[in-house]
């Protein structure tokens, strides 16, 4: 089943401090992370996240390992993150929380463009073009299918 969302375009090397600042970490209330997502990067982004696909530049999620960055996006209703390269901890965090990730370069995508993907396939579509993403490992696919690591371990153990 295909899923579509509107693009929210961000630049390269957007670190996890930019996704959720350190001053909002000491809580387990996910709503706080949603409210302040991208606050130090572009304060207009938070309100556009529901139903979006984030189209990032290189090295998205670099820096701190804080899972709150991926959790903020998931909780805000982001459908997937697309980037030519991911910082690896952020990548794993997204998969572990059931947030779809596509490692591919969508050039020329603008804010608001419709981006479509099939959760079982490794490509995304936008502007009438198909962009092949790097294939995930079988285990990562299984974790995503289970909605995240909690669901995956629940099935296995």
């Amino acid at each position: 089943m295909k899923i579509s969302g509107h693009a929210v375009v961000i630049g390269s090397d957007v670190d996890t401090d930019m996704i959720i600042a350190g001053r909002y970490l000491r809580t387990t209330d996910k709503k706080i992370w949603v409210e302040h997502a991208f606050e130090d990067y572009d304060s207009t982004i938070a309100e556009r996240l529901r139903g979006s696909v984030i189209i990032a530049g290189n090295n998205i999620g670099c820096g701190s390992s804080r899972e709150q960055a991926a959790a903020a996006l998931k909780e805000a209703g982001v459908l997937a993150v697309v980037a030519p390269s991911f910082a690896r901890i952020f990548f794993r965090n997204c998969v572990n929380l059931g947030l779809y990730v596509f490692e591919c370069d969508i050039t020329g995508c603008k804010d608001g463009d419709i981006v479509t993907f099939d959760p079982d396939m490794s490509y995304v579509e936008t502007g009438g073009k198909i962009y092949e993403a790097k294939e995930l490992s079988e285990k990562m696919k299984d974790i995503l299918k289970a909605g995240g690591l909690a669901g995956y371990l629940g099935e296995k153990r």
């Binding site: 390269s12 090397d13 670190d15 401090d17 930019m18 600042a21 350190g22 001053r23 970490l25 000491r26 809580t27 387990t28 130090d40 290189n58 090295n59 670099c62 820096g63 701190s64 390992s65 804080r66 899972e67 709150q68 991926a70 390269s85 991911f86 910082a87 690896r88 901890i89 952020f90 794993r92 965090n93 572990n96 929380l97 490992s137 285990k139 995240g148 690591l149 909690a150 371990l153 629940g154 153990r157």
Partner: protein
């Protein structure tokens, strides 16, 4: 032949492997998130609690009721389950782990991006997020993609006031903030062999600033001597011919004191390019540069002088603090007018004990100069302990070579 990562993970670069984790650790910030994640699992039994360490360092001691309550919850859980628990005042998680809690050849996973620090001891050490950590607590294992390796070849010997931090800023400049993504770094060459373990820890610590998964040195006589101080016996690792993705050469003898200019860690320039920039705070500490040798180099410059700017010094661990106290360098630092805080890492991430105000300019021995990280609206530069000391004494950015 294999790279050190391939040897430890027992698989060829590019393959995916499931491996038991020899030592897992988290701190007060990520540990509580891992506990919340664990509570969301269907089964919450723990595979090997004796292999888990919890270290309180990020906001230590707690700064308010919310933090105190989260720490209370994780503390009770950790002690009741038999985790190796290190409460406030013990030090920074990576420093504690490097003080005899992990060994060459082990697979070490920490819920913190700078967990790659322990690569300095010849361990395969890497960072993960909270849910991965909870998964390791529950199953004792995790998956890895065996990384390709970039060789950082260090030749020559440091001259003047250049030191390991300057070498770290230089390799990051050469690789860029994503030049090591998904890969491991291996530090080799006569410069790596001659470097004391304290300096190796600085270089490995910053591997993640290139996007790398790990940053390894081969365990040698120096590693064995270092671990023997903590009562541990270490295996020596012999390098074999192996294929690297690429090699970056750094001649240590050509290095000068460097500064990473806001807001990118790979934006390193000679300190002298910014000489005279007025400072509001100097900070010596963190998992990058809060070790005894760092305090020693810093104190040698500030001794007998007075700092002209507020200067915060945070030893990386209780044993660093004790040694600095015993050897008299702590009094030199205090008498120079510095503020000494308890072991931890609060200021680095703008959490606690040394946050900068809007419009302020800071100089720090930490590893990240990201926008707003150390204080909203502040900017700060990264440097070595000796550059921090020279700048503290003048109140403005100063190369130690200019001071003397």
């Amino acid at each position: 032949m294999e790279t050190l990562s391939e040897r430890i993970l027992e698989g060829p670069a590019g393959s995916y492997v499931d491996r038991a984790v020899d030592r897992a650790f988290a701190h007060d910030g990520t540990g509580i998130q891992a506990l919340v994640a664990l509570r969301g699992f269907k089964k919450q039994n723990l595979a090997a609690p004796e292999k888990v360490s919890i270290i309180y360092d990020h906001i230590a001691p707690a700064n308010n009721t919310t933090t105190a309550n989260l720490q209370h919850d994780l503390r009770d859980f950790s002690i009741s389950k038999g985790f190796s628990f290190h409460d406030v005042g013990c030090g920074i998680c990576h420093q504690i782990m490097s003080e005899g809690e992990c060994l060459p050849g082990e697979i070490v996973v920490g819920a913190d991006s700078h967990s790659c620090t322990m690569g300095a001891l010849g361990a395969f050490a890497t960072g993960v997020g909270a849910t991965d950590m909870a998964g390791i607590w529950a199953t004792g294992e995790t998956w890895f993609r065996v990384p390709e390796t970039i060789n950082v070849h260090l030749s020559g010997d440091f001259s003047g006031f250049a030191e390991p931090k300057d070498a770290a800023l230089m390799y990051i400049k050469k690789l860029g903030m994503d030049g090591g993504t998904y890969m491991a770094l291996e530090f080799t060459g006569e410069g790596a062999e001659a470097m004391p373990v304290s300096g190796r820890l600085t270089l490995s610590n910053m591997a993640v600033e290139t996007g790398a998964k790990a940053g390894l040195f081969y365990s040698d006589k120096k590693t064995a001597e270092y671990l023997a101080e903590y009562g541990k016996k270490a295996d020596i690792q012999t390098p074999s011919d192996c294929s690297y993705e690429r090699t970056v050469n750094i001649d240590l003898s050509n290095l000068e004191p460097l500064l990473a200019v806001p807001n990118r860690v790979d934006n390193a320039v000679p300190v002298t390019d910014y000489s005279g920039t007025k400072l509001d705070q100097v900070f010596l500490g963190t998992c990058t540069n809060g070790r005894y040798d760092d305090l020693l180099r810093f104190s040698a410059i500030v001794k007998g002088k007075k700092v002209k700017v507020r200067t915060v010094v945070v030893p990386a661990s209780r044993s660093v603090l004790s040694k600095a106290l015993k050897n008299g360098i702590l009094s030199d630092i205090i008498e120079a007018g510095c503020t000494v805080c308890p072991p931890g890492c609060g200021p680095c991430l703008g959490a606690h004990m040394g946050v900068l105000g809007e419009g302020e300019v800071g100089l720090s021995t930490a590893n990240r100069n990201f926008k707003n990280r150390m204080g909203v609206g502040a900017e700060y530069y990264l440097c070595s302990p000796q550059t921090a000391a020279a700048s503290a004494v003048t109140g403005e950015i100063t190369s130690p070579e200019e001071l003397l």
